[in-house]
Symmetry: C2
Subunit: 326 residues, 2 copies
């Protein structure tokens, strides 16, 4: 089975190369010098096999998804990531080639996103594969984009497309046979490997007053923004930006309002929902487009409390606002 | 079963009170303003039921041990802790009263050590109770006490007493019936609730040039110092500081060199091993004593590589240098 010291030497020390903060992983701590004029933004997310990813998912994709769900949190706050701490809990029989694949996945996305491993630990567990990361990023002092900044009169926008994460989970489980094979594969790939919106933190800092990443489901995460801001948010489900496969799935469904509600409550999209003043929306959409990210206006901030989805102008009753891991 | 949002509201939000960095746990991130002239020191440690603590251990003690093993890492580096991120993975059937006990344990040691919860997440797992913390502390710039600073000619010292953690694990498992009940209870309590040496970071910064906490076992952790420093370390097992219960156990053993080696290779002591120049040792011992911590000279740094235990002047062969969780 895994030997912690050997794993650190062969798998993880190379991932800390080039990061003086990591002290070569020799000290059980990392040291981050203060950067005057800047705040450190820190997030911590855990993933458990069978809960946050499928037990059979390839280890390199699990590693990359772990980094990406944490990157998504930092992107939504307007921060620029630079490094992370890792805890990996190897289950019984998780052999050396799988551990190597896991480390390879980390290396690949470290290069893609400019990250370095700063520290952490590896342990064994009698339970499922469990991975947690603590991700660090810098932002100019006082400029973090909070959930609490939404105000009545603002518009609500969302990046990319909504619902692919939830459909992707179904596809990865072998469901959704109503769709063509290539659509199912595209959705499953999106579930296994989300694309965090790391290209637009600057746009969010400049143009939005509140933001959150869409991990629990669009309505749930819009609800977090509404609750933190003390406002209500109305969402036009007809305006949800949908991928081709999601549109194909929608057309296969008998009740399109119910189907749209499923897409708006499924988790794992890792898009960003934000609120901006109408005067800023055009600039927000144009700047995001230049960064390669589509932003779509899907609703508005109003007085009150809660999230209110509409379809064809009629309120839609949604029993479950988003995915809760229970 | 556990509901993540309810747990956050009732159990964890109160633990973040008074920490503006935590953004009231409403943003999935914490924001740490830079502190000019200071470095942030960060450590991350995970604990799994059945590996790092016993499955039947009281949840409040598990919570407190989690904070303390991380505090021990920061203390050994000379840093002053202020807050932490938490991931808790509730196993099936870990009911509300147990979750409440866990949070109560956090609250108790937060008050004792001046800590605030900064963020994190709670998830469910099909496996054992799993908890990880990322602990943050401040230190004046460039003053972190590394493992790599040991030099030939220095003495090696250790805080408190050695071997109680390993004996305590045996006692907690119902072994060690050779000892009196009150000795077994004292050792088991030490295993379940270590006392991190948070009183002496300033002494270490001023008087030591290398330090590590003793979590894997004295010889293993002295070995980490030796390896990081490019030196060898000799340890006189006869000089090991032993608690009363450990002395009683030692006297029950037929081979005292072998018994001392067991104490020096057992894990979970959460003492501090450090290296200092002979001219600094008297000051180091006196200043530690004023802070309520006994420091004992147990060995010396020499040219070479590795750790060499001696007993009655004779080398002792030790097959296993420390506890590895495999």
């Amino acid at each position: 089975m895994g030997d912690e010291f050997e794993d650190i030497e062969t798998l993880f020390r190379p991932l800390a190369a080039g990061a003086p903060e990591a002290l070569d992983l020799r000290d059980d701590v990392a040291v981050i010098p203060s950067r005057p004029g800047h705040d450190l933004v820190i997030t911590k997310d855990a993933m458990v096999a069978g809960v946050h990813f499928l037990s059979g998912d390839p280890p390199d994709l699990v590693a990359r998804k772990l980094l990406r769900v944490n990157l998504s949190d930092l992107a939504a706050k307007g921060a620029a990531p630079f490094g992370y701490f890792l805890s990996v809990h190897w289950p019984p029989g998780f052999a050396a080639p799988n551990r190597r694949l896991f480390a390879d996945g980390l290396a690949e996305d470290q290069a893609r996103y400019g990250l370095r491993l700063l520290g952490g630990d590896t342990v064994s567990t009698s339970g499922p594969l469990t991975v947690t990361a603590t991700m660090l990023g810098w932002i100019e002092s006082g400029r973090v984009v909070r959930r609490s900044g939404a105000r009545p009169g603002q518009l609500v926008l969302v990046s990319g497309t909504i619902g692919d994460g939830g459909l992707g989970l179904m596809a990865a489980r072998g469901e959704l046979t109503v769709l063509a094979v290539h659509d199912r594969e595209a959705l499953a790939a999106r579930y296994r490997l989300p694309e965090p919106r790391t290209a637009i933190p600057g746009v969010l800092r400049d143009c939005a007053t509140a933001a959150a990443d869409v991990s629990d489901g669009l309505l749930a995460d819009a609800g977090h923004v509404a609750a933190a801001s003390g406002v209500a948010i109305e969402i036009d489900l007809d305006r949800l930006p949908l991928s081709g496969p999601a549109q194909a799935w929608l057309q296969s469904q008998p009740d399109s309002a119910a189907a749209l509600a499923i897409l708006a409550t499924a988790g794992d999209d890792y898009e960003i929902v934000c609120a901006a003043w109408p005067t800023e929306v055009e600039r927000l959409i144009a700047a995001s487009a230049r960064a390669g990210v589509a932003m779509t206006a899907i609703g508005r901030v109003v007085e009150g409390a809660g999230v209110f989805p509409f379809c064809q102008g009629e309120p839609v009753s949604v029993a479950r606002m988003g995915w809760r891991h229970v």
